[in-house]
């Protein structure tokens, strides 16, 4: 070859994601069992989801509606006719021996999401039922354990599987796609989007190919990523592994691989090839489903605000920076809180700072979610107003914040209770200043001989003596006058 270059081949990463989101219905997809989390094993089961002979599934309207809603938000077309198919495989968490899913006529098709300025096409989104859960009793995973325990509370819970085209080109883009999807389903209220608890599950199809190549390389399917960070890490690991294989003349084997968070590696699941022969066929127990354009239109009309719309609105309506707006969008509860608080104050920037700064820090330190506290949007807005009108200093506001968060008491009440109302009385402040000067003669001398940095020390002493209530502006002014001597 020309020049006989010894440089290594440049590869391009190709990623497609399959995302399962658990739809937040009250009951299962085909039976009236509760979907409630955390009840006793097999409490939420019935003859239908246990797969007993002679039972008939009946479709949950809400699940279909959630599926359509999500499809519309993902810019998908909605099928006029859709149907349910049986996907056969044997596993103890699947009592019927088949999963009711959708094969060739999914409820949603051909959508897209824009990630890092690029359109990521969505091939399809279809409804299906979840499987149960295997619990390994006692000596988990030990060679000696011969039995598994089956809990079928989750069997039959509705899922929407959202399948992208292999359009992503970096692990970062894949993580952003998953995060964007999570935000959308949370905004729609159709799913909690919790990777750790499994209400959202992400599988990544990863392959590499020489840069510029049109054909795809052999892909592997990565599973078991329990956080958005681990999605990115698992893909990075897998790309490095595949690159090493190909560079050393070996081949990538098409297989499923499990991500191991502890070791930071993926490992083959060695599942048998036959397992992928699912022998789909239409479920004769369920009629094809006609979806009227009128129904779709009604769902479209009732669609709540989406993350991207909120991002634009927060900037346009309240003049927030793109960064601030994106933080409020990312954490839906913060954004909801902001939207309520602006009913009570027009100091949008101050409100944002409190939410993104002290409040977020407090929640993080105390391992709490905003909705678990007693902080109300109105109380926070009132506090912002009090700071703005000089009723309290921001130091005092910080002081009462924990109580504002924990007790739900209005800020004016808290300030009164604690005797923390800002004091702007010049004669009182002057008295404190003079006392500080008398008590710190050495520092005063040092200051007057040029050590101007000490000014902050004096102000601090006055604030301390007044328990933070002295108006800092007044303290500054008076202290400066007095120190001039």
């Amino acid at each position: 070859m020309a020049g006989a270059l010894t440089t290594q081949t440049q590869y391009e990463t190709v990623i497609g994601l399959e995302v399962h989101v658990q739809l937040k219905t009250q009951t299962k997809l085909f039976c009236a069992c509760s979907t409630q989390f955390g009840v006793e094993q097999n409490q939420n089961t019935c003859p239908i989801c246990l797969g007993m002979p002679g039972v008939l599934p009946v479709l949950n309207r809400q699940a279909v509606e959630y599926g359509i809603l999500a499809g519309l938000a993902l810019n998908c077309g909605i099928a006029l006719i859709t149907k349910f198919d049986r996907k056969q495989y044997f596993y103890p968490d699947l009592p019927k021996g088949y999963q009711i899913s959708q094969y060739d006529l999914p409820v949603c098709h051909d959508g897209y999401l824009e990630i890092m300025g690029q359109k990521i096409r969505i091939l399809r989104a279809h409804l299906e039922e979840d499987a149960g859960k295997l619990v390994h009793a006692g000596a988990a995973g030990l060679a000696g354990s011969t039995h598994s325990l089956v809990d079928l509370n989750r069997a039959g819970v509705p899922l929407l599987e959202i399948v992208s085209q292999p359009d992503m080109r970096s692990s970062e883009q894949a993580r952003l796609y998953a995060e964007t999807l999570r935000n959308i389903v949370r905004y729609l209220g159709v799913c909690d989007g919790n990777l750790e608890e499994g209400s959202m599950r992400v599988e990544a199809n990863v392959s590499i190919r020489p840069l510029g190549s049109e054909t795809y390389g052999t892909k592997t399917e990565l599973k078991n990523m329990n956080s958005f960070r681990s999605i990115q890490k698992a893909i990075d690991y897998e790309v490095a592994r595949q690159t090493e294989l190909i560079d050393s003349g070996e081949r990538v084997i098409q297989e499923s691989r499990l991500w191991n968070e502890a070791t930071g590696t993926t490992a083959s699941m060695r599942s048998k090839e036959e397992a992928h022969d699912y022998r789909y066929f239409p479920d004769p127990d369920l009629r094809p489903l006609e979806i009227s354009p009128e129904w779709v239109e009604r769902i479209r009309q009732a669609m709540p605000e989406l993350p991207l719309q909120r991002l634009n609105r927060l900037q346009e309506e309240f003049g927030l920076s793109e960064y601030d707006a994106s933080v409020l969008v990312e954490l839906k509860e913060l954004g909801d809180f902001f939207d309520e608080a602006v009913e009570h104050t027009s100091h949008y920037k101050a409100l944002t700072n409190w939410l993104m700064g002290d409040i977020t820090a407090y929640l993080k330190n105390n391992h709490k979610n905003l909705e678990d506290t007693r902080l109300t949007p109105k109380n926070l807005a009132l506090m912002v107003q009090m700071v703005d009108s000089n009723q309290i200093s921001s130091a005092i506001a910080k002081k009462i914040l924990p109580d504002l968060i924990e007790t739900g008491t209005a800020p004016d009440m808290l300030v009164k209770e604690k005797g923390l109302i800002q004091n702007s009385d010049e004669s009182q402040i002057q008295q404190i200043c003079q006392q500080v000067i008398v008590e710190n003669a050495e520092e005063v001398a040092a200051f007057r001989s040029g050590k101007e940095k000490l000014f902050g020390f004096f102000v601090g002493q006055v604030m301390k003596a007044s328990r933070g209530t002295a108006n800092p502006e007044v303290v500054n002014r008076l202290m400066r006058e007095l120190l001039k001597g």
């Binding site: 069992c33 056969q88 495989y89 103890p92 022969d277």
Partner: protein, 96 residues
């Protein structure tokens, strides 16, 4: 044509054990059935539209929990139960 290999493959998927005689017989019978179905492909359907249109509106269920079964009752058919779980032989290959 359904070969004996195909029969064995499907039997394996369905966790069925077949004798060589059964395998041979099913290969022949299934081939005949498929052949019969193939004849349908010869029909001239150019003038008819075969659309998947349900004759009756889909029956929906509202999203309300309308029942609560007794767990012990539901578990009563299982050969082995443990503490409210179904107890099954451990699957070594955790794939899928």
């Amino acid at each position: 044509m359904i070969t004996e290999e195909t029969v064995l493959h499907v039997a394996k998927l369905a966790r069925l054990e077949l004798t060589p005689e059964e395998t041979h017989r099913y290969a022949q019978e299934l081939s005949k059935i498929l052949h019969l179905v193939d004849e349908l492909a010869d029909l001239d359907l150019s003038s008819s539209t075969l659309e998947l249109v349900p004759e009756h509106p889909t029956l929906f269920r509202e999203d309300k929990q309308t029942w609560n079964f007794d767990r012990q009752d539901l578990l009563s058919n299982t050969p082995e139960e443990e503490n409210g779980f179904f107890r099954v032989p451990k699957i070594l290959d955790e794939g899928n």
